[in-house]
């Protein structure tokens, strides 16, 4: 297979890492089967696949976090047994995940020095020299004396990358690096990745769900499906459509008619002069907006401009705020989560793990926000609950049993349970935050169709997402948020990526 790839056109380069016949089985689940993958020196190799396709397992094998059941890994042509991350790092493999491993109260230099530090030795000056030399070579700017917690997430991510490079990394694994970034930062990260390849010849394995990132930076792309590599191709020859087809081939897809878009209904959610004061300044200042019956209003903005705080205010996290929130014309008093629930307002938070009680079962999580409906008098109606759970599982295509702990579900299925809970309640209005973050293509499509269907039944939905494509696809109107204020409103017929992007940037 590797010979076949080597002649596909891209300049033939030495192999930096090759995985030969890797297999990993968890219990009776085959996570990865007979995987051959070659990453060449100095290439950006994208790894694409649905959730559960085996991307993470593959990278865990490469980084020594788990051991293969069969197969081998070679680095620079020599077979290596990678049994721990330490060995992986010594062999020149670095990994940056969505969860950074930086000490937040230390400076950039200190964090770099820390990884080489012995028990009694700490070479701060050496680490600083190394850092500055690296920055110079790559063409990056970073303040070596800045404390990590004073840096924005995008910068922290760069420090994490620099740390891996300073540790002698030749092959860098980036696990969904753009999931934590806003749109502007994505472009500059992709630029950094390109520069790493061009200046120091780094090989990068880029794990991602996002097709346009692949077409922007990747040299080659491998597609994983159900634990097997189904294709390795030059990225330039692949269209988004063909990649999607490769990734989801054979997976059942439901196409739901979305119906006519019209937003002439009455106001179901009205926010008046909302101000949220946090960390010494107004993260939201005098924000007003309105969502009508049967429309989706998208909030577009670069992350960190008050979106999270807006959702939290609507979920009742900030009780002490100024301004008014009306649901269906009635003021929500107190602004606590239970007040919103009682007002018939549905909420889907940006972090599904924080919204589900992972040790409780799927059915218990499903009914958690309206126990009064499923109990009489205070006694849980087992049969009614089971029936509702089974209906939700069917209607929302959830792959789970009603009495299974929700923490054991995949991200997509967990999200579907939370959406089933939200819409099962027939809310008048709802706020939905990052509904497809981290989900695979099939789940993403499903969730989006579901939002359209609910909109068509009359629910007014406020959609907050950092994925501009998602907002453009679903919204009837877009409101652009910048520094805690709504700075623009665009109706669907006037949607224009560039114009909206400019507003998001505050231009």
């Amino acid at each position: 297979m590797s010979t076949a790839d080597a002649v596909t056109g891209y300049s033939v380069a030495a192999s930096a890492v090759s995985l030969n016949g890797l297999r990993k089985i968890y219990g009776d689940v085959v996570a990865v089967e007979n995987v051959d993958l070659e990453v060449r020196a100095g290439e950006i190799h994208a790894l694409l696949g649905e959730n559960g396709a085996g991307k993470t397992t593959l990278m865990r094998l490469l980084y020594g976090l788990t051991k293969p059941d069969a197969g081998s890994i070679s680095i620079d042509g020599a077979t290596v047994s990678i049994t721990s991350p330490k060995i992986a790092r010594a062999a020149g493999i670095g990994m940056v995940t969505q969860h950074f491993s930086l000490v937040k109260t230390m400076t950039v230099t200190e964090n770099l020095a820390l990884q080489d530090a012995g028990f009694f030795s700490l070479d701060l000056a050496g680490a600083r020299r190394k850092l500055l030399a690296l920055c110079e070579e790559i063409g990056l700017e970073i303040d070596p004396d800045a404390r990590i917690d004073s840096l924005p997430v995008a910068m922290q991510q760069r420090v994490e990358i620099l740390k891996a490079l300073a540790g002698g990394c030749k092959v860098l694994i980036l696990d969904e690096p753009t999931a934590v970034l806003g749109p502007q930062d994505v472009d500059s990260l992709l630029d950094v990745i390109r520069r790493l390849r061009d200046t120091i010849g780094l090989s990068v394995i880029l794990i991602t769900h996002k097709m346009h990132e692949i077409s922007q930076v990747a040299d080659r792309v491998s597609v994983l499906r159900r634990g097997e590599i189904v294709a390795t191709e030059n990225a330039s020859g692949m269209s988004i459509a063909s990649l999607t087809a490769l990734m989801v081939e054979g997976v059942q897809q439901e196409i739901v008619e979305t119906g006519e878009r019209s937003s002439q209904g009455t106001s179901v959610l009205a926010i008046k002069d909302l101000t949220v004061h946090l960390r010494g300044h107004d993260v939201i200042s005098e924000l007003s907006l309105e969502v009508r019956r049967g429309e989706i209003v998208g909030i577009a903005g670069v992350s960190g401009n008050g979106q999270s705080e807006l959702v939290q205010a609507l979920s009742g996290v900030f009780v002490h705020q100024t301004g008014e929130i009306h649901v269906d014309g009635k003021l929500v008093k107190g602004g606590s989560p239970s007040a919103f629930a009682e007002a018939g307002f549905g909420r889907l938070g940006e972090d599904r793990h924080a919204s589900a009680v992972s040790a409780l079962t799927v059915e218990e999580n499903l009914i958690l926000d309206r126990l009064h409906f499923f109990s009489k008098p205070g006694i849980l109606l087992k049969r009614k609950i089971r029936k509702f759970a089974e209906e939700s599982i069917t209607n929302f295509a959830i792959k789970a049993k009603p009495d299974q702990a929700i923490g054991t579900l995949s991200g997509g299925n967990m999200q579907k349970v939370l959406l089933a809970r939200l819409f099962g309640e027939r809310p008048l209005a709802a706020v939905v935050s990052q509904p497809t973050r981290g989900l695979d293509v099939v789940s993403t499509r499903y969730v989006r169709q579901l939002l359209m269907v609910e909109r068509n039944t009359g629910v007014g939905i406020l959609l907050v997402s950092e994925d501009l494509d998602e907002i453009l696809e679903l919204s009837d109107r877009i409101l652009v948020i910048f520094k805690g204020k709504i700075v623009g409103e665009v109706a669907r017929k006037d949607f224009d990526r560039i114009a909206i992007g400019a507003m998001m940037a505050g231009v």
Partner: protein, 359 residues
């Protein structure tokens, strides 16, 4: 350099045999560690364990005394387990038990001329109210101001004991003997014996019923589901619209009420008066019971009985081998330590990192 490193990792999948094996290992370690201490106290460990565990089971009297000794533990263990299930760390069952005993004693001192059935009901109500009253302030502080209930419930325990001794040395001092203990209560409030020829009293039945109710409420009612959700993930419960503070407050009061009934049971079923030794730490042992039972209500019943056996056995061991009777408490403490350690392995596993490392 070749070296072996140990590290702790989350256990991905749990086998069915894991928990019985871990419990067995914990018990073996309990024997080993306690044996060393018994040896140190100058007795033969095997003989000591024969007395501790065996002797109470060899006679009907031993068994009934063990059940009697388990009775308050059923209630305090259940009270603590209930609170812990909701994530309310009530360490104050001891104080709540004493407060329940005080209120029950008040009823018992003023119960002349009332029917027996009414006396019993009033005792239970008084015990529950007393326990609730003692649990009220920490519950309020926790739910309104977020003040850690571990500290407040714990610190109120000695206060309750001081109130008991204050009453016994003041208004309630026995007028005849002048001892710091109340006079014998009205017979109208005595808990009836439920097994002829033994001291087992109504408190046991009340305890079992209370456990059954707790088990049912937690598993089958909306309130119980709220408690479990709040205990497992307060953040997610809040997002779902549950009133976390209200749930904690209600649970805390219910827990206090159950512990208070244990106090009423000791007064009305065993001592028939209030003394400052009414509870040799039943409330604290309740925390041990609930923990050993892994917060399962049926298991609380079983563990209470086991600890009851050890309590009774420790007296025979002490008499026969002339070692301190506190040996029973030592064994219980060691058992708690080993079982809690074993529970860690239920969740995590130790991984051996072998291989050559460059240092």
């Amino acid at each position: 350099m070749f070296k072996v490193k140990l590290r702790i990792a989350l256990r991905a999948n749990k086998s069915w045999w894991l928990s019985p094996v871990l419990i067995a290992i914990a018990i073996i370690f309990t024997f080993i560690i306690s044996s060393a201490m018994i040896r140190w106290a100058g007795a033969n460990p095997f003989a000591a364990f024969k007395y501790l565990l065996g002797s109470p089971l060899q006679s009907k009297f031993g068994i009934t005394e063990a059940i009697l000794s388990a009775t308050p533990l059923v209630l305090t263990g259940g009270a603590v387990a209930l609170a812990f299930r909701a994530g309310y760390w009530n360490i104050g069952a001891e104080g709540q038990l004493l407060a329940g005993a005080i209120c029950a004693t008040f009823v018992g001192l003023h119960a002349d001329g009332i029917p027996h059935w009414l006396g019993i009901i009033l005792m239970v109500i008084a015990g529950a109210l007393g326990g609730m009253l003692w649990a009220f302030v920490p519950a309020l502080l926790r739910s309104r101001l977020g003040i850690d209930e571990v500290v407040t419930t714990l610190l109120l325990n000695p206060v309750a004991l001081l109130v008991v001794t204050g009453l016994l040395n003041g208004p309630w001092r026995n007028p005849k003997t002048k001892f710091p203990e109340t006079q014998v209560l009205s017979e109208n409030v005595f808990f009836p014996r439920v097994y002829p020829g033994s001291r087992i009293h109504l408190g046991l039945i009340i305890g079992i019923v209370a456990l059954a109710i707790c088990w049912w409420v937690v598993g089958r009612t909306a309130g119980g589901l709220k408690m479990r959700a709040v205990g497992l993930a307060p953040g997610a419960a809040r997002i779902a619209g549950l009133k976390v503070e209200k749930t904690l407050f209600t649970t805390a009061l219910a827990s206090g009420a159950i512990a208070g009934i244990a106090g009423a049971g000791e007064v009305a079923g065993v001592a028939h008066q209030l003394t400052d030794g009414i509870s040799p730490g039943f409330g604290y042992t309740g925390v041990v019971v609930a923990t050993l039972a892994a917060l399962s209500f049926p298991a609380v019943l079983l563990i209470s009985f086991v600890l009851g056996i050890i309590n009774v056995g420790s007296f025979s061991a002490s008499r026969a081998l002339s070692i301190p009777s506190t040996i029973g408490e030592v064994v219980q403490a060691v058992l708690l330590t080993t079982v809690v350690s074993a529970l860690v392995f239920m969740k995590y596993r130790i991984v051996l990192d072998k291989g050559k490392h460059r240092d």
